[in-house]
């Protein structure tokens, strides 16, 4: 069997197929419908210092090849997360990365500190600086190279574990933010979070999302995500995790060729929560057929014309 393992920072993952934050709950919800131990890693819903109810409904609408969401970071908060989820993760045979969000640098730091102080088997943290659906914080961090650097620097001092900065595509030049994260000590970056989008019901003449704008995800955003990943991988030394519209093996191969060390599956989990396991299975077959010995040999190998 081909070697599917990948290394990010100092951590080895058994394969490059992860599930994206906010699209796989806390990893405990869908055990009836899939075998999560097949996955390289799961990334939790964004955790904040206090629990959050999230935005008023409607929060979801389907669009061509995708969906728009405005959940507003609804989550159980760091205390309940530690009490209920960390003990459950001890029995997971897959790596867990905790996604953190906050509205101030202090809040991100506090959440990370609180989790890091508890003994657990989590692999590291993904820092959400790219949520388009909350007024305070979220994307406000991810659109500025300065705040990204400041936040990364502070977090770096607090933990030995992996730190992955999750980047927003809603910027002029994503590589500037990526470089800021790298220079401040991030182990990796992940891209992309959702794109700001809007949906209107022409019959009722109403917006389909309470907050007017929401985050567009799904196959519709894949070309944008591929470009972001390729730009980041071409200008950074640290690994890039590719996210955006991944539903099957061809997508995984394309993101890898564009430069992704691992990929995350998002929206596709809502349609089929078993999709990650299936893709890992298909990846083994793909490597066998193409006589690939280690899948990471494909990273960044896309042939471009200039």
């Amino acid at each position: 069997m081909a070697d599917l393992s990948v290394k990010i920072g100092s951590v080895d993952f058994k394969n490059p197929i992860f599930t994206a934050s906010g699209t796989f709950g806390y990893g405990t919800e869908v055990s009836d419908l899939t075998d999560i131990s097949a996955l390289g890693a799961i990334i939790t819903k964004s955790i904040t210092l206090h629990s959050r109810e999230g935005n008023p409904p409607p929060r979801i609408v389907e669009t061509t090849g995708g969906m728009i969401n405005s959940i507003g970071l609804a989550n159980i908060g760091v205390d309940q997360f530690i009490a209920e989820m960390l003990p459950a993760y001890k029995f997971f045979e897959t790596a867990v990365i905790v996604n953190i969000a906050g509205s101030t640098v202090e809040e991100y730091c506090q959440v990370l500190k609180i989790i890091d102080a508890v003994s657990s088997n989590i692999a590291g943290y993904e820092i959400n600086i790219s949520c388009p659906n909350v007024k305070e914080g979220g994307m406000a961090f991810g659109v500025s190279a300065d705040t990204t650097a400041r936040l990364t620097e502070r977090l770096r001092k607090l933990t030995e574990r992996l730190i992955i900065l999750k980047l927003s595509p809603n910027v002029t030049d994503i590589t500037v933010i990526g470089k800021a994260a790298q220079e401040a000590g991030a182990d990796a970056v992940s891209a992309i979070n959702t794109l700001v989008g809007m949906s209107i019901n022409h019959l009722s003449r109403e917006s389909n999302i309470f907050t007017t704008y929401g985050g567009l995800s799904g196959p519709a955003i894949k070309p944008i995500a591929l470009a972001c990943v390729h730009k980041l991988a071409s200008s950074l030394e640290i690994p890039v995790l590719g996210i955006g519209g991944i539903t099957a093996i061809p997508d995984v191969v394309e993101f890898t060729l564009a430069g992704a060390t691992a990929i995350q599956i998002g929206t596709a989990n809502f349609r089929d929560p078993d999709i990650g396991r299936k893709i890992v299975f298909d990846l083994v077959e793909y490597c066998k057929q193409d006589k690939i010995e280690s899948f990471d040999s494909l990273i960044g190998q896309v042939r471009v014309f200039q």
Partner: protein, 263 residues
């Protein structure tokens, strides 16, 4: 909660824009589903429509499950083109269910539009158990009704345009049942405006019951956090999760009378 590939055994139009689909899904059918629960159907195998469609279970017989759906948009119109013999992926059973009220009370089932399917199933079960009950069904026009008025079986129809049954909404019919019957208990499913009116009527007469509601959802099993509805008496806490909003897919779709806030 099971993912299963179902075999379509029938898919036919039963009234204007209303279709009944029957699927062989032995595992889900024998999973002890109850009225009120729903399934998630994968209609589009391309990814143009990435999400599944939530549909209430309208009945289960042996290894077959049926749904009744209204063709309103892309996925439901595409569902109407499926033929017997085709297969389709189903996740279910999902959500909670109606609980049959304590002995002595008389169930009044109130359905509006495509809120009828789960109540039709409940009606079948109550009929089988010889429990006296009422069924009130509202629709916009007569062409959308496929159940017949039957005074002997306490089945009453209403239409917004007066083309069949009683002219107007279901509320006056419910009120007339309340006037002549003691100790009733309401089960309602339908559009939000109807549920709000039913809840107001129930408050006015101090009647208990259960309401089944809908909301946009991406998954149906608790991971997207999209399908929230507002709770009526949430405790005002600075920071809370699941006190202000309830998830239709996990906390519902069935809620107790008075639990939700409409509007």
């Amino acid at each position: 909660m099971i993912t299963e590939t179902g075999l379509i055994t029938s898919n036919r139009c039963i009234a204007r824009n209303l279709w009944r689909l029957e699927i062989e899904v032995p595992e889900i059918a024998y999973a002890q589903s109850q009225p009120g629960q729903f399934i998630e159907i994968l209609v589009d195998v391309t990814w143009e429509r990435p999400l599944r469609c939530p549909m209430s279970i309208a009945g289960i017989q042996d290894n077959r499950l049926s749904i009744i759906y209204k063709t309103i948009g892309i996925s439901t119109h595409s569902l109407a083109t499926k033929q017997s013999g085709e297969t389709i992926s189903i996740i279910g059973p999902l959500g909670n269910s109606f609980s049959i009220a304590g002995a002595g009370s008389i169930p009044v089932l109130v359905a509006g539009g495509v809120g009828l399917p789960p109540l039709l199933w409940l009606h079948q079960i109550l009929t089988k158990q010889n429990i006296t009950h009422y069924l009130v069904i509202g629709a916009q026009t007569g062409e959308e009704h496929f159940v017949k008025t039957d005074q002997h079986k306490n089945i009453y129809l209403t239409t917004d345009d007066g083309s069949l049954g009683r002219h107007g909404t279901v509320i006056p019919v419910v009120e007339s049942i309340i006037d002549k019957t003691n100790n009733i208990y309401i089960y309602a499913c339908g559009p939000e405006a109807m549920l709000a009116a039913v809840q107001d009527t129930a408050f006015e007469h101090n009647i208990g019951g259960q309401l089944s509601t809908e909301s946009y959802m991406a998954c149906g099993f608790g991971i997207c956090q999209g399908c929230v509805v507002k709770r009526r008496d949430f405790k005002q806490a600075d920071h809370s999760y699941n006190l202000r909003y309830a998830l239709v897919c996990q906390d519902g779709p069935v809620f107790n009378m008075g639990e939700l806030y409409f509007g």
